[in-house]
Amino acid sequence: MDGIHDMGGMQGWGRAPFDPTEPAFKAGWEGRAFAICLLSMNRLTGQNLDAMRHALERLHPLEYLRNGYYGRWLLMAETLLTDSGVIAEGAVDARARKLRGDDVTEPPDPVLNKPDYTATGPGSLRPVDDPPRFTVGEQVRAKDIHPAGHTRLPRYVRGRVGTVKRILPSALLPDTNAHFLGENPQHCYGVAFDSTELWGGEAEPFVLHIDLFDSYLEAPVENQP
């Protein structure tokens, strides 16, 4: 989906805050939110890493930005737990109000609704029998597509022509795995794009390397009239 998370090249953010001395967690709640999230993924909800990332992407952009990284993580955990019927919609808000002394009725427990999903192996790397479709040095075009669900093909490379630089280990496809539609293992390529191909002739000179799955790519000629 074309959400706020897909921010490569987006302007208007100002300077990145830089504090080389910061601790891993700047407040107690950040650590708790982080740890709850880790547990909420496979163990509590039966969901996977790609569904977890997609839960982040589905947040309203204001919520995505409002409380920073661990603010997003907290809402990601809540989303996964709600999706899987572990906690009820509105349960966190109700409990929070109760904790601060409001007189609230908490929602009843929902019906457990974990995805019918078992990973075929640990992690994301998966063998693929066929040889890679593209070779190192070959030109490829990132497809100009707008998938409705999760994808790891960002907008800023779509439709652009680059060069395959590495054949990376084959892996399951996040686009289908996030929605429990199959692991769909694919070859993955390290592809280099010139900055001017991405941002036009006025761009700073640099080369952008990005990892793209086989189904994100096509031969450059295919899309031409």
Binding site: D6, M7, G8, G9, Q11, G14, R15, A16, P17, F18, D19, P20, E22, A24, F25, K26, G28, W29, G31, R32, A33, F34, A35, I36, L39, R53, A55, L56, L59, H60, E63, L65, N67, G71, L74, L75, E78, T82, V86, E89, V92, D93, R95, K98, L99, R100, R152, L153, P154, P169, A171, C188, E204, F206, V207, L208, H209, I210, D211, L212
Partner: protein
């Protein structure tokens, strides 16, 4: 899928406490396990791991060769593995080639060697600008790169995790692996800084930089 949580004006601290309270009440989460996770990532898994890898690569050419050939296996030799470290690729900086690592789509980061990502890495400004104006961004971090330096930016869009092997600073020739470790920062291993020799070791500096 259920609707996403409705924007709430309740403070995030209180909502975190509320979620933990629900999960503990249901018997799904043990607060002691949460404590352990927090402690692990606050204290044990951090950039010191990566610094050890870098210092070893600087002082042991055979290790460096293995690290460049198979980063995952080479960092595992030092005991570093775990979540977000399934496939680690090391990128070597040189006087004419500088690597910068980013994750534009979320904040993927090589946890086993660098720990959890710092705020700047997770900030939209970094995520957005690293792939559009890396030179301007690096200058804001205090790193001015001349036009003779080629910049390669790596957007971590798959489960491959990238770590930068910084240049060993001039003036550190006599230093041991152990002595080199504290010079190697998280910033240098992500590509927003160079490593510097300690005061008195930096020849460039002594000779009027």
């Amino acid at each position: 899928m259920s609707p996403v949580p409705v924007p709430s004006d309740l403070p995030v601290e209180l909502r975190t406490e509320a979620l933990e309270s629900i999960l503990v009440e249901k018997g799904l989460v043990d607060p002691a396990v949460l404590d352990k996770f927090v402690k692990t990532y606050a204290e044990d898994v951090g950039p010191l791991n990566g610094a050890k890898v870098v210092a070893k690569a600087w002082t042991d050419p055979e290790y460096k060769a293995r690290l460049m050939e198979d980063g995952t296996a080479a960092v595992a030799e030092l005991g570093f593995k775990g979540p977000q470290g399934e496939c680690i690729v090391v990128l070597e900086n040189t006087p004419t080639l500088h690597h910068l690592v980013v994750c534009t789509l979320c904040s993927c980061y090589p946890w086993p060697v660098l720990g959890l990502p710092p705020t700047w890495y997770k900030d939209p400004a970094y995520r957005a600008r690293a792939v559009r104006e890396p030179r301007a961004l690096l200058a804001e971090f205090g790193l001015e790169l001349g036009p003779e330096v080629e910049i390669k930016v790596f957007d971590s869009s798959s489960e491959v995790r990238y770590m930068v092997l910084p240049e060993r600073p001039a003036g550190t020739e006599g230093m041991s692996e152990e002595e080199l470790i504290p010079l190697v920062t998280r910033e240098a291993m992500t590509g927003v800084a160079k490593t510097k020799a300690p005061a008195g070791h930096d020849h460039d500096h002594e000779h009027g930089h």
